[in-house]
């Protein structure tokens, strides 16, 4: 068991710094397997380096986000694992 494996909800903090809508209840479709579900229902891997949200069905990386805290605060956001996001 990976100790850093958490619910997608655990990625809510860093994503809420970026998105102005509630991202954990948005539905994301995986580009690899096509499964669609709420971001909060996927798996989050949270570490000092950054956060990766993976598809609960196939483990594909849906969202990768890295935050730089030293110096000017910056984010790197990689969403290429997501086919589409459905927002309410």
């Amino acid at each position: 068991m990976d100790e850093n494996r958490l619910d997608g909800n655990a990625a809510a903090e860093v994503l809420a710094e970026i998105f102005t809508f509630e991202i954990t209840t948005a539905r994301a479709a995986c580009v690899r397997c096509g499964a669609a579900g709420e971001v909060g229902a996927q798996m989050a891997y949270v570490s000092e380096i950054g956060t990766v949200v993976r598809c609960a069905a196939c483990d594909n990386a849906l969202i990768r986000v890295v935050r730089q805290d030293d110096g000017p605060q910056r984010y790197w956001l990689d969403l290429k694992g997501i086919e589409y996001l459905q927002l309410e």
Partner: protein, 248 residues
């Protein structure tokens, strides 16, 4: 843009009260100027800053109902933790605490969403589920609720008296305890870790289309969620919140 973007900003809350729940847990009640309310199940981030500038940050679930204008957090003291010993031992009424939130809309429940609700908690994983139970009570909602609550011992059952008194006055709220390490003499309830047989006895059947919220240590959450899905519950209706390894 029509609406100003919602910004997740740090702010200072004031400690109004702290009260021990069990030997290792404490409720910390905060008044937060400008707080716009929360949904039952959401959490906040707490940030502590040392004199040398070192910062430590942790997430804590909100245990109070949205109807209660204050925000109550349940803090479990982890002896080797960086944050929880300070929060449980040093904080006093009148102190300020830096926090931001509410965070997370997925592991959350509004009374109008209905049920029935199956709540499964391990230890301090009761906190967001307590917010749900308190919210349901405050909203006068009568959705049937079953809580299966795993604790190490009777003394360590968090919110025990409040849960007893809520269940005593409400026949749609059923509470089942299991004690995994020690049980008092004459204990009639479960005294083992949550397993498939126990879930089968306590949970609503999948036909009743319950909404499940499971919160606690990762092994408990994964075992319960896997069992529920195996019993035929719809995966999208089993919401989980695992405690991270950085706790404390």
């Amino acid at each position: 843009m029509a609406d100003a973007p919602r910004k997740l900003a740090w702010r200072i809350g004031e400690i109004v009260e702290t009260s021990p729940e069990t030997p290792r847990t404490k409720s910390v009640c905060l008044e937060i100027p400008g707080w716009d309310g929360h949904r039952a199940g959401q959490h906040v981030d707490i940030r502590l800053t040392a004199e040398d500038g070192y910062q430590a940050q942790r997430s804590y679930s909100i245990a109070s109902a949205p109807e209660n204008g204050r925000v109550e957090l349940l803090i479990e003291r982890l002896d080797d933790g960086e944050v929880s010993p300070y929060l449980t031992e040093e904080l006093r009424a009148g102190d300020g605490l830096e926090l931001r939130g509410p965070i997370g809309g997925w592991f959350a429940w509004d009374a109008r969403e209905g049920g029935p609700l199956l709540l499964v908690a391990g230890g301090s994983g009761i906190a967001p589920l307590m917010a749900i139970i308190r919210h349901r009570q405050a909203a006068g909602n009568e959705v049937p609720v079953r809580l299966l609550f795993s604790s190490r011992s009777y003394e360590e059952v968090i919110f025990r008296e409040e849960l007893e008194s809520l269940a005593a006055g409400d026949e749609t709220l059923e509470i089942t305890h299991t004690l995994t390490r020690s049980a008092p003499p004459g204990w009639q309830g479960y005294d083992r870790r949550i397993d498939e047989e126990m879930i089968g006895e306590v949970a609503f059947s999948p036909d009743e289309w319950p909404l499940a919220f499971v919160c606690g240590p990762t092994p408990l959450v994964e075992a319960v969620a896997t069992t529920l899905v195996g019993l035929g519950h719809e995966p999208a209706r089993v919401k989980t919140e695992r405690f991270g390894p950085t706790g404390g």
